[in-house]
Symmetry: C2
Subunit: 242 residues, 2 copies
Protein backbone atom coordinates (compact mmCIF):
# COMPACT_ATOMS: atom_id res chain seq x y z
CA UNK A 1 0.00 0.00 0.00
CA UNK A 2 1.14 3.51 -0.86
CA UNK A 3 0.01 6.52 1.13
CA UNK A 4 0.78 10.00 -0.16
CA UNK A 5 0.87 12.29 2.85
CA UNK A 6 0.78 16.07 3.11
CA UNK A 7 2.44 17.23 6.34
CA UNK A 8 1.50 20.90 6.11
CA UNK A 9 3.97 23.78 6.24
CA UNK A 10 6.52 22.36 8.68
CA UNK A 11 6.20 21.93 12.43
CA UNK A 12 4.28 18.94 13.73
CA UNK A 13 1.55 21.19 15.12
CA UNK A 14 0.17 21.58 11.59
CA UNK A 15 0.26 17.83 10.79
CA UNK A 16 -3.05 16.01 10.88
CA UNK A 17 -3.51 12.88 13.00
CA UNK A 18 -3.98 10.88 9.79
CA UNK A 19 -0.59 12.10 8.52
CA UNK A 20 1.11 11.11 11.77
CA UNK A 21 -0.51 7.68 11.84
CA UNK A 22 0.36 6.95 8.22
CA UNK A 23 4.02 7.77 8.87
CA UNK A 24 4.03 5.86 12.17
CA UNK A 25 2.74 2.75 10.38
CA UNK A 26 5.10 2.95 7.41
CA UNK A 27 7.93 0.55 6.64
CA UNK A 28 9.55 2.98 4.21
CA UNK A 29 9.31 6.78 4.07
CA UNK A 30 10.12 8.40 0.74
CA UNK A 31 10.58 12.11 0.08
CA UNK A 32 12.61 15.19 -0.72
CA UNK A 33 15.33 15.50 1.89
CA UNK A 34 14.25 18.93 3.15
CA UNK A 35 10.79 17.58 3.96
CA UNK A 36 12.10 14.35 5.47
CA UNK A 37 14.22 16.48 7.81
CA UNK A 38 10.90 17.66 9.31
CA UNK A 39 9.77 14.06 9.86
CA UNK A 40 12.92 12.31 11.12
CA UNK A 41 13.05 13.86 14.59
CA UNK A 42 9.75 12.13 15.41
CA UNK A 43 10.67 8.78 13.83
CA UNK A 44 14.45 8.41 14.06
CA UNK A 45 14.28 4.60 13.82
CA UNK A 46 12.41 4.46 10.50
CA UNK A 47 13.83 3.63 7.07
CA UNK A 48 14.03 6.57 4.69
CA UNK A 49 14.61 6.97 0.97
CA UNK A 50 15.72 10.54 0.30
CA UNK A 51 15.97 12.34 -2.99
CA UNK A 52 16.89 15.75 -4.34
CA UNK A 53 14.60 18.59 -5.36
CA UNK A 54 14.03 17.85 -9.03
CA UNK A 55 13.77 14.07 -8.70
CA UNK A 56 9.99 13.90 -8.32
CA UNK A 57 9.47 11.26 -10.98
CA UNK A 58 12.22 8.95 -9.69
CA UNK A 59 10.93 9.47 -6.15
CA UNK A 60 7.41 8.43 -7.12
CA UNK A 61 8.61 5.45 -9.18
CA UNK A 62 10.67 4.21 -6.23
CA UNK A 63 7.69 4.58 -3.88
CA UNK A 64 5.44 2.67 -6.31
CA UNK A 65 7.98 -0.11 -6.85
CA UNK A 66 8.54 -0.63 -3.12
CA UNK A 67 4.80 -0.57 -2.39
CA UNK A 68 4.09 -2.99 -5.23
CA UNK A 69 6.67 -5.34 -3.68
CA UNK A 70 4.55 -5.45 -0.55
CA UNK A 71 5.98 -2.70 1.67
CA UNK A 72 3.90 -0.15 3.51
CA UNK A 73 5.23 3.01 1.89
CA UNK A 74 4.56 6.65 2.70
CA UNK A 75 5.47 9.37 0.23
CA UNK A 76 5.87 12.67 2.10
CA UNK A 77 4.88 16.04 0.57
CA UNK A 78 5.09 19.43 2.22
CA UNK A 79 1.80 21.30 2.42
CA UNK A 80 -0.93 19.25 0.79
CA UNK A 81 -0.34 15.95 -0.99
CA UNK A 82 -2.50 17.07 -3.91
CA UNK A 83 -1.99 20.80 -4.48
CA UNK A 84 1.34 21.04 -6.34
CA UNK A 85 2.09 17.75 -4.54
CA UNK A 86 2.89 14.25 -5.76
CA UNK A 87 -0.51 12.49 -5.67
CA UNK A 88 -1.22 13.40 -9.29
CA UNK A 89 2.17 12.19 -10.51
CA UNK A 90 1.71 8.86 -8.69
CA UNK A 91 -1.63 8.28 -10.43
CA UNK A 92 -0.08 9.25 -13.78
CA UNK A 93 2.78 6.79 -13.28
CA UNK A 94 0.41 4.00 -12.19
CA UNK A 95 -1.58 4.51 -15.41
CA UNK A 96 1.62 4.46 -17.47
CA UNK A 97 3.11 1.46 -15.67
CA UNK A 98 -0.18 -0.45 -15.69
CA UNK A 99 0.44 -1.09 -12.00
CA UNK A 100 -2.47 -1.86 -9.68
CA UNK A 101 -1.85 -0.60 -6.21
CA UNK A 102 -3.88 0.48 -3.23
CA UNK A 103 -3.28 4.23 -2.95
CA UNK A 104 -4.51 6.61 -0.26
CA UNK A 105 -4.11 10.37 -0.42
CA UNK A 106 -3.89 12.07 3.00
CA UNK A 107 -4.56 15.82 2.65
CA UNK A 108 -2.55 18.44 4.51
CA UNK A 109 -2.62 22.17 5.22
CA UNK A 110 -1.41 23.87 2.03
CA UNK A 111 0.41 27.23 2.09
CA UNK A 112 -2.67 29.13 0.87
CA UNK A 113 -4.24 28.22 4.23
CA UNK A 114 -1.27 28.41 6.59
CA UNK A 115 0.01 31.64 5.04
CA UNK A 116 -3.47 33.13 5.12
CA UNK A 117 -3.83 32.28 8.83
CA UNK A 118 -0.51 33.98 9.54
CA UNK A 119 -1.53 37.15 7.69
CA UNK A 120 -5.04 37.32 9.18
CA UNK A 121 -7.78 36.13 6.84
CA UNK A 122 -7.01 37.10 3.23
CA UNK A 123 -8.17 33.82 1.66
CA UNK A 124 -11.66 34.08 3.10
CA UNK A 125 -13.68 34.36 -0.08
CA UNK A 126 -13.48 33.06 -3.68
CA UNK A 127 -9.83 32.52 -4.48
CA UNK A 128 -7.31 31.33 -7.07
CA UNK A 129 -4.14 29.38 -6.45
CA UNK A 130 -1.52 29.95 -9.13
CA UNK A 131 2.08 28.75 -9.31
CA UNK A 132 4.56 31.15 -10.94
CA UNK A 133 6.93 28.30 -11.76
CA UNK A 134 7.24 27.87 -15.52
CA UNK A 135 9.18 24.62 -15.25
CA UNK A 136 6.19 22.60 -16.40
CA UNK A 137 3.64 25.26 -17.32
CA UNK A 138 4.28 27.71 -20.20
CA UNK A 139 4.56 31.31 -19.00
CA UNK A 140 1.75 32.27 -21.43
CA UNK A 141 -0.60 29.92 -19.55
CA UNK A 142 0.43 31.48 -16.25
CA UNK A 143 -0.22 34.97 -17.67
CA UNK A 144 -3.62 33.88 -18.99
CA UNK A 145 -4.52 32.63 -15.51
CA UNK A 146 -3.27 35.78 -13.78
CA UNK A 147 -5.44 37.89 -16.08
CA UNK A 148 -8.47 35.62 -15.49
CA UNK A 149 -7.93 35.81 -11.72
CA UNK A 150 -7.59 39.61 -11.87
CA UNK A 151 -10.70 40.14 -13.99
CA UNK A 152 -12.71 37.75 -11.77
CA UNK A 153 -11.68 39.82 -8.71
CA UNK A 154 -10.47 36.71 -6.92
CA UNK A 155 -8.17 36.66 -3.93
CA UNK A 156 -4.97 35.16 -5.36
CA UNK A 157 -2.39 32.95 -3.63
CA UNK A 158 0.86 32.75 -5.60
CA UNK A 159 2.97 29.64 -5.06
CA UNK A 160 6.66 29.52 -6.10
CA UNK A 161 6.70 33.31 -6.60
CA UNK A 162 10.40 33.42 -7.32
CA UNK A 163 13.64 31.46 -7.39
CA UNK A 164 17.31 31.93 -8.23
CA UNK A 165 16.63 30.99 -11.83
CA UNK A 166 13.62 33.25 -12.24
CA UNK A 167 13.94 36.23 -9.86
CA UNK A 168 11.77 38.39 -12.10
CA UNK A 169 8.61 36.28 -12.07
CA UNK A 170 6.88 38.06 -9.21
CA UNK A 171 7.63 41.47 -10.68
CA UNK A 172 6.28 40.39 -14.07
CA UNK A 173 3.14 38.97 -12.44
CA UNK A 174 2.57 42.17 -10.45
CA UNK A 175 3.04 44.36 -13.52
CA UNK A 176 0.42 42.31 -15.32
CA UNK A 177 -1.98 42.48 -12.35
CA UNK A 178 -1.45 46.25 -12.07
CA UNK A 179 -3.12 46.63 -15.49
CA UNK A 180 -6.36 45.29 -13.96
CA UNK A 181 -6.14 46.05 -10.25
CA UNK A 182 -5.48 49.14 -8.18
CA UNK A 183 -1.87 49.75 -7.05
CA UNK A 184 -3.37 50.12 -3.55
CA UNK A 185 -4.72 46.54 -3.59
CA UNK A 186 -3.86 45.00 -0.22
CA UNK A 187 -1.30 42.19 -0.55
CA UNK A 188 0.66 39.98 1.79
CA UNK A 189 3.82 37.94 1.99
CA UNK A 190 4.17 34.88 4.23
CA UNK A 191 7.57 33.21 4.53
CA UNK A 192 9.02 30.13 6.25
CA UNK A 193 5.51 29.32 7.44
CA UNK A 194 5.48 26.92 10.39
CA UNK A 195 9.29 26.86 10.50
CA UNK A 196 12.05 28.73 12.31
CA UNK A 197 12.09 32.37 11.28
CA UNK A 198 8.46 32.48 10.11
CA UNK A 199 7.32 35.97 9.15
CA UNK A 200 4.48 37.80 7.39
CA UNK A 201 4.05 41.30 6.01
CA UNK A 202 1.15 43.28 4.58
CA UNK A 203 1.87 45.70 1.73
CA UNK A 204 0.30 47.18 -1.42
CA UNK A 205 0.40 45.64 -4.90
CA UNK A 206 2.62 48.56 -5.93
CA UNK A 207 5.08 47.70 -3.14
CA UNK A 208 4.84 43.97 -3.84
CA UNK A 209 6.11 44.56 -7.37
CA UNK A 210 9.51 45.53 -5.96
CA UNK A 211 9.58 43.11 -3.03
CA UNK A 212 12.27 40.46 -2.86
CA UNK A 213 10.95 37.00 -2.15
CA UNK A 214 12.34 33.48 -2.35
CA UNK A 215 11.02 29.98 -2.86
CA UNK A 216 10.07 29.63 0.79
CA UNK A 217 7.50 32.38 0.36
CA UNK A 218 3.82 32.44 -0.53
CA UNK A 219 2.34 35.69 -1.83
CA UNK A 220 -1.26 36.86 -1.45
CA UNK A 221 -3.10 39.44 -3.59
CA UNK A 222 -6.34 40.71 -2.11
CA UNK A 223 -9.58 41.20 -4.00
CA UNK A 224 -11.08 44.69 -4.38
CA UNK A 225 -12.64 44.43 -0.90
CA UNK A 226 -9.57 43.23 1.01
CA UNK A 227 -8.53 45.53 3.87
CA UNK A 228 -5.61 46.06 6.16
CA UNK A 229 -6.70 46.32 9.77
CA UNK A 230 -4.14 46.69 12.51
CA UNK A 231 -1.44 44.94 10.49
CA UNK A 232 -3.73 42.09 9.42
CA UNK A 233 -4.85 41.35 5.85
CA UNK A 234 -8.57 40.59 5.84
CA UNK A 235 -11.02 39.86 3.02
CA UNK A 236 -14.60 40.50 4.16
CA UNK A 237 -17.11 37.71 3.63
CA UNK A 238 -19.86 40.23 2.96
CA UNK A 239 -21.72 40.19 6.29
CA UNK A 240 -21.76 43.99 6.44
CA UNK A 241 -22.51 44.73 2.80
CA UNK A 242 -25.65 42.62 2.45
CA UNK B 1 -7.32 35.21 23.90
CA UNK B 2 -9.43 34.04 20.97
CA UNK B 3 -8.37 31.18 18.73
CA UNK B 4 -10.31 30.51 15.53
CA UNK B 5 -9.83 26.86 14.73
CA UNK B 6 -10.51 24.89 11.54
CA UNK B 7 -11.12 21.21 12.35
CA UNK B 8 -11.17 19.90 8.77
CA UNK B 9 -14.00 17.91 7.23
CA UNK B 10 -15.13 15.92 10.26
CA UNK B 11 -13.41 12.95 11.90
CA UNK B 12 -10.53 13.66 14.25
CA UNK B 13 -8.05 12.04 11.87
CA UNK B 14 -8.15 15.20 9.74
CA UNK B 15 -7.69 17.59 12.70
CA UNK B 16 -4.24 19.09 13.12
CA UNK B 17 -2.37 18.83 16.43
CA UNK B 18 -2.64 22.61 16.78
CA UNK B 19 -6.43 22.38 16.47
CA UNK B 20 -6.61 19.68 19.14
CA UNK B 21 -4.35 21.58 21.52
CA UNK B 22 -6.27 24.82 21.11
CA UNK B 23 -9.54 23.07 21.95
CA UNK B 24 -7.96 21.12 24.81
CA UNK B 25 -6.73 24.37 26.38
CA UNK B 26 -9.98 26.31 25.92
CA UNK B 27 -12.27 27.46 28.71
CA UNK B 28 -15.15 28.06 26.30
CA UNK B 29 -15.83 26.47 22.91
CA UNK B 30 -18.10 28.40 20.58
CA UNK B 31 -19.58 27.16 17.30
CA UNK B 32 -22.39 25.97 15.10
CA UNK B 33 -24.00 22.97 16.78
CA UNK B 34 -23.34 20.54 13.91
CA UNK B 35 -19.60 21.25 14.14
CA UNK B 36 -19.54 21.15 17.94
CA UNK B 37 -21.11 17.67 17.73
CA UNK B 38 -17.83 16.58 16.09
CA UNK B 39 -15.81 18.02 18.99
CA UNK B 40 -17.84 17.05 22.08
CA UNK B 41 -17.06 13.33 22.07
CA UNK B 42 -13.38 14.18 22.70
CA UNK B 43 -14.03 16.88 25.31
CA UNK B 44 -17.30 15.99 27.05
CA UNK B 45 -16.38 18.00 30.16
CA UNK B 46 -15.85 21.34 28.39
CA UNK B 47 -18.16 24.35 28.34
CA UNK B 48 -19.84 24.98 24.99
CA UNK B 49 -21.79 27.85 23.49
CA UNK B 50 -23.83 26.54 20.56
CA UNK B 51 -25.63 28.48 17.89
CA UNK B 52 -27.71 27.84 14.79
CA UNK B 53 -26.63 27.92 11.17
CA UNK B 54 -27.25 31.55 10.24
CA UNK B 55 -26.05 33.06 13.51
CA UNK B 56 -22.45 33.65 12.45
CA UNK B 57 -22.34 37.27 13.55
CA UNK B 58 -23.86 36.62 16.98
CA UNK B 59 -21.54 33.63 17.39
CA UNK B 60 -18.46 35.74 16.67
CA UNK B 61 -19.60 38.61 18.89
CA UNK B 62 -20.16 36.21 21.78
CA UNK B 63 -16.71 34.69 21.27
CA UNK B 64 -15.10 38.15 21.20
CA UNK B 65 -16.98 39.32 24.28
CA UNK B 66 -16.03 36.25 26.32
CA UNK B 67 -12.40 36.43 25.21
CA UNK B 68 -12.24 40.16 25.98
CA UNK B 69 -13.50 39.33 29.48
CA UNK B 70 -10.42 37.16 29.97
CA UNK B 71 -11.55 33.67 28.97
CA UNK B 72 -9.58 31.38 26.70
CA UNK B 73 -12.06 31.01 23.88
CA UNK B 74 -11.97 28.76 20.83
CA UNK B 75 -14.28 29.42 17.89
CA UNK B 76 -14.71 26.20 15.90
CA UNK B 77 -15.12 26.17 12.10
CA UNK B 78 -15.47 23.15 9.86
CA UNK B 79 -12.83 22.82 7.16
CA UNK B 80 -10.48 25.79 7.34
CA UNK B 81 -10.92 28.72 9.73
CA UNK B 82 -10.25 31.18 6.92
CA UNK B 83 -11.74 29.84 3.67
CA UNK B 84 -15.47 30.57 3.96
CA UNK B 85 -14.77 30.39 7.72
CA UNK B 86 -15.15 32.87 10.56
CA UNK B 87 -11.66 34.38 10.89
CA UNK B 88 -12.50 37.21 8.52
CA UNK B 89 -15.75 38.08 10.32
CA UNK B 90 -13.94 38.15 13.67
CA UNK B 91 -11.40 40.66 12.35
CA UNK B 92 -14.22 42.75 10.83
CA UNK B 93 -16.08 42.81 14.13
CA UNK B 94 -12.93 43.70 16.09
CA UNK B 95 -12.38 46.67 13.76
CA UNK B 96 -16.01 47.75 14.18
CA UNK B 97 -16.06 47.25 17.96
CA UNK B 98 -12.63 48.90 18.41
CA UNK B 99 -11.74 45.88 20.54
CA UNK B 100 -8.10 44.91 21.03
CA UNK B 101 -7.71 41.21 21.45
CA UNK B 102 -5.04 38.60 20.90
CA UNK B 103 -6.33 36.49 18.02
CA UNK B 104 -4.78 33.34 16.53
CA UNK B 105 -6.04 31.65 13.38
CA UNK B 106 -5.42 27.88 13.27
CA UNK B 107 -5.76 26.59 9.70
CA UNK B 108 -7.51 23.32 8.85
CA UNK B 109 -8.02 21.01 5.90
CA UNK B 110 -10.63 22.68 3.68
CA UNK B 111 -13.01 20.67 1.47
CA UNK B 112 -11.07 21.51 -1.71
CA UNK B 113 -8.24 19.42 -0.25
CA UNK B 114 -10.13 16.63 1.53
CA UNK B 115 -12.57 16.17 -1.36
CA UNK B 116 -9.72 16.19 -3.84
CA UNK B 117 -7.89 13.49 -1.87
CA UNK B 118 -11.03 11.35 -1.87
CA UNK B 119 -11.46 11.69 -5.65
CA UNK B 120 -7.79 11.12 -6.49
CA UNK B 121 -5.87 14.28 -7.32
CA UNK B 122 -8.06 16.76 -9.21
CA UNK B 123 -6.84 19.89 -7.39
CA UNK B 124 -3.22 19.31 -8.32
CA UNK B 125 -2.58 22.37 -10.46
CA UNK B 126 -3.75 26.00 -10.61
CA UNK B 127 -7.23 26.13 -9.15
CA UNK B 128 -10.17 28.34 -8.20
CA UNK B 129 -12.40 27.99 -5.16
CA UNK B 130 -15.86 29.46 -5.72
CA UNK B 131 -18.92 29.37 -3.48
CA UNK B 132 -22.28 29.11 -5.26
CA UNK B 133 -24.09 30.61 -2.29
CA UNK B 134 -25.63 33.96 -3.20
CA UNK B 135 -26.58 34.80 0.38
CA UNK B 136 -23.80 37.39 0.62
CA UNK B 137 -22.42 37.52 -2.91
CA UNK B 138 -24.57 38.72 -5.84
CA UNK B 139 -25.20 35.95 -8.39
CA UNK B 140 -23.74 38.23 -11.10
CA UNK B 141 -20.39 38.23 -9.24
CA UNK B 142 -20.51 34.43 -8.97
CA UNK B 143 -21.19 34.17 -12.73
CA UNK B 144 -18.33 36.56 -13.49
CA UNK B 145 -15.99 34.36 -11.44
CA UNK B 146 -17.22 31.14 -13.05
CA UNK B 147 -16.53 32.63 -16.50
CA UNK B 148 -13.08 33.84 -15.41
CA UNK B 149 -12.26 30.39 -13.98
CA UNK B 150 -13.47 28.68 -17.17
CA UNK B 151 -11.52 30.97 -19.51
CA UNK B 152 -8.38 30.60 -17.36
CA UNK B 153 -8.68 26.80 -17.63
CA UNK B 154 -8.45 26.42 -13.87
CA UNK B 155 -9.47 23.36 -11.91
CA UNK B 156 -12.54 24.58 -10.00
CA UNK B 157 -13.78 23.54 -6.56
CA UNK B 158 -17.37 24.61 -5.96
CA UNK B 159 -18.42 25.13 -2.34
CA UNK B 160 -22.10 25.25 -1.33
CA UNK B 161 -23.14 23.92 -4.73
CA UNK B 162 -26.79 23.67 -3.78
CA UNK B 163 -29.32 23.93 -0.98
CA UNK B 164 -33.04 23.60 -0.40
CA UNK B 165 -33.52 27.29 -1.17
CA UNK B 166 -31.43 27.24 -4.32
CA UNK B 167 -31.56 23.76 -5.88
CA UNK B 168 -30.86 25.16 -9.35
CA UNK B 169 -27.49 26.80 -8.64
CA UNK B 170 -25.30 23.90 -9.72
CA UNK B 171 -27.28 23.42 -12.94
CA UNK B 172 -27.00 27.14 -13.72
CA UNK B 173 -23.27 27.09 -13.04
CA UNK B 174 -22.76 24.03 -15.24
CA UNK B 175 -24.76 25.54 -18.08
CA UNK B 176 -22.55 28.62 -17.92
CA UNK B 177 -19.37 26.52 -17.82
CA UNK B 178 -20.59 24.43 -20.77
CA UNK B 179 -20.37 27.55 -22.94
CA UNK B 180 -16.59 27.58 -22.39
CA UNK B 181 -15.63 24.00 -21.57
CA UNK B 182 -16.19 20.64 -23.24
CA UNK B 183 -19.21 18.59 -22.05
CA UNK B 184 -16.70 15.74 -21.60
CA UNK B 185 -14.67 17.73 -19.02
CA UNK B 186 -13.91 15.37 -16.15
CA UNK B 187 -15.73 16.38 -12.96
CA UNK B 188 -16.17 14.96 -9.49
CA UNK B 189 -18.53 15.03 -6.54
CA UNK B 190 -17.37 14.44 -2.96
CA UNK B 191 -19.98 14.22 -0.22
CA UNK B 192 -20.00 13.83 3.57
CA UNK B 193 -16.20 13.97 3.46
CA UNK B 194 -14.60 12.58 6.61
CA UNK B 195 -18.00 11.66 8.07
CA UNK B 196 -20.29 8.63 8.11
CA UNK B 197 -21.49 7.81 4.63
CA UNK B 198 -18.64 9.55 2.82
CA UNK B 199 -18.70 9.02 -0.96
CA UNK B 200 -17.16 10.30 -4.18
CA UNK B 201 -18.05 9.98 -7.84
CA UNK B 202 -16.36 10.93 -11.12
CA UNK B 203 -18.57 12.09 -13.99
CA UNK B 204 -18.59 14.47 -16.97
CA UNK B 205 -19.59 18.13 -16.93
CA UNK B 206 -22.62 17.18 -19.01
CA UNK B 207 -23.66 14.63 -16.37
CA UNK B 208 -22.86 17.01 -13.51
CA UNK B 209 -25.41 19.49 -14.88
CA UNK B 210 -28.20 17.08 -13.97
CA UNK B 211 -26.68 15.66 -10.80
CA UNK B 212 -28.49 16.16 -7.50
CA UNK B 213 -26.25 17.45 -4.74
CA UNK B 214 -26.81 18.94 -1.31
CA UNK B 215 -25.01 21.31 1.03
CA UNK B 216 -22.76 18.55 2.36
CA UNK B 217 -21.21 18.20 -1.08
CA UNK B 218 -18.19 19.75 -2.77
CA UNK B 219 -18.03 19.68 -6.57
CA UNK B 220 -14.89 19.62 -8.71
CA UNK B 221 -14.56 20.67 -12.36
CA UNK B 222 -11.37 19.53 -14.05
CA UNK B 223 -9.23 21.65 -16.32
CA UNK B 224 -8.77 20.69 -19.99
CA UNK B 225 -6.05 18.16 -19.02
CA UNK B 226 -7.90 16.40 -16.19
CA UNK B 227 -8.33 12.66 -16.74
CA UNK B 228 -10.31 9.79 -15.30
CA UNK B 229 -8.07 6.81 -14.58
CA UNK B 230 -9.51 3.72 -12.97
CA UNK B 231 -12.28 5.66 -11.25
CA UNK B 232 -9.95 8.42 -10.02
CA UNK B 233 -10.05 12.07 -11.10
CA UNK B 234 -6.50 13.25 -11.79
CA UNK B 235 -5.11 16.55 -13.08
CA UNK B 236 -1.60 16.09 -14.49
CA UNK B 237 1.11 18.40 -13.18
CA UNK B 238 2.80 18.41 -16.56
CA UNK B 239 5.68 16.01 -15.96
CA UNK B 240 4.92 14.11 -19.17
CA UNK B 241 4.12 17.05 -21.44
CA UNK B 242 7.34 19.00 -20.87
Amino acid sequence: MLQIVGIGPGEKKHWTYAAYEAIAGAELIVGYRTYLALVKPYFPEKTYLESGMRDEEARCRAAITEAAAGKKVVLVCSGDSGIYGLASLVYELLAEMGEELEVAVIPGVTAALSGSALLGAPVAHDSCLISLSDQMTPWETIEKRLIAAATGDFVIALYNPSSHERPEHLKRACELLLRYRSPETVCGIAAKIGRDGEWAKVLTLQELRDAEVDMQTTVFIGNSETKEWDGKMVTPRGYFSK
